[in-house]
Symmetry: C2
Subunit: 208 residues, 2 copies
DNA sequence: CCTAACTTGTGAACTAATTCACAAGCCCCT
DNA sequence: AGGGGCTTGTGAATTAGTTCACAAGTTAGG
């Protein structure tokens, strides 16, 4: 498969969320124009995005909502349950652990790890806080495919290296640092400072 | 000023974080090559990014670390304190309110808003939970320039419309929906589902 | 004062992403 | 069965973003 742009994948995820809304309203078909309007893009963009993966519509008619959403779910890899662990039992880790949005999309959070002995062993809802020292063992046992990192900047790269070595293939980081991973590991980083600074840049420089 | 690509702004924010580290180590000068290595990009990219805003280095020598970081701070609009409110006193709102990273970058979180009467009036650290009904009044009084949205999907657009009408110029959203704002308002949205799905896509489709 | 070793700043070349524009296919109506 | 009205899928054109490559400064050393 030709390399797909990240912006394309993000839009596919967006289209899928629209399809789920449309499906919930019981509407059977939709068009590239509908999806474009909802997503703030153009119908040509929607069709081009889909065209990388095949031909899912009917000319003159549009797309079958259930069919297209099934296809998109498969393309995005959502056909399976994904087991996720959260690393870091601080404020952000706590919020993520209890975040209902995960389950709604097929992501199962089954543990939180921390190195603080006063936190290890406690229960958050039905999720247990485990000892960070056991991380490798649990990953190697196949407990998780994805790790969500919610730790301070200075320990983030060390933990990335550890989970990568243990076999994790996907990492979502909330640590405010630049991280590096081998090319066969997928990494997404949400950096709050960066988000806020693109905002302040836009506010400061608008109408130039 | 020519329109600056968002990717450029994000990298500037990254360069600034590197400069702060370098400055903390007491190193007086740096080069586009150094910044590129830290940021996983190329030196030509660094120089091009900076060139949109002026000429900050000395040929043969590189960049003065304090000078370049001052310039970047000004470019990014970090010369002033930014007053921020969090909307939504749920798990994510709580984590954001106490997130130390904000203050470190000159962002002051002075209030959290919620509509739940059982939360209104309580204190989180030195931040008070206020009545969401007072949002417009406080924004109009100039209490905040930026709103951080941590509310459920179905109330997010309504709140965006309210804060925009009251005069907010920058919004950072964590709600899992597509939002629309007028063109003079800056919006950044962090959508967890989207981040996770780009991960699962990458894991599922790797080595094709 | 001249040369060697560097590093910036920037047009030009290249690569990637988006938008255009239209032939082809499909449905409905008469 | 044929025409009109839609909408897809996709090459071609355009626009945006990145990388190349090198002249022009700068410093250090002799």
């Amino acid at each position: 498969m030709r390399r797909i742009a990240e912006s394309t994948v993000r839009r596919l995820s967006l289209y899928l969320s629209f399809l789920e809304e449309i499906e919930a309203r019981g509407v059977p078909t939709t068009s590239s124009e509908d999806l474009a309007r909802l997503g703030g893009t153009t119908s040509a963009q929607v069709r081009k995005d889909l065209s990388f993966f095949g031909s899912f519509g009917k000319r003159g008619l549009g797309y079958s909502v259930p069919e297209l959403s099934t296809r998109l779910r498969r393309i995005l890899g959502l056909g399976q349950q994904w087991r996720v662990c959260i690393i870091g039992a601080g404020k952000i880790g706590a919020a993520l652990t209890r975040y209902a949005g995960f389950a709604a999309r097929g992501f199962v959070v089954s543990a939180v790890y921390d190195s603080d002995p006063s936190k290890i062993g406690s229960r958050w809802g039905n999720v247990k806080v485990r000892d960070e020292a056991d991380l490798e063992r649990d990953i190697e046992a196949g407990d998780y495919q994805i790790a969500v990192l919610a730790v301070p900047a200075d320990s983030a790269q060390k933990l990335v290296d550890r989970v990568v070595k243990a076999g994790i293939k996907g990492i979502l980081s909330f640590a405010p640092v630049q991280l590096t991973v081998p090319s066969d590991v997928a990494l997404r980083a949400v950096n709050m400072a960066m988000e806020l600074e693109t905002l302040t840049f836009a506010i400061t420089n608008k109408a130039d």
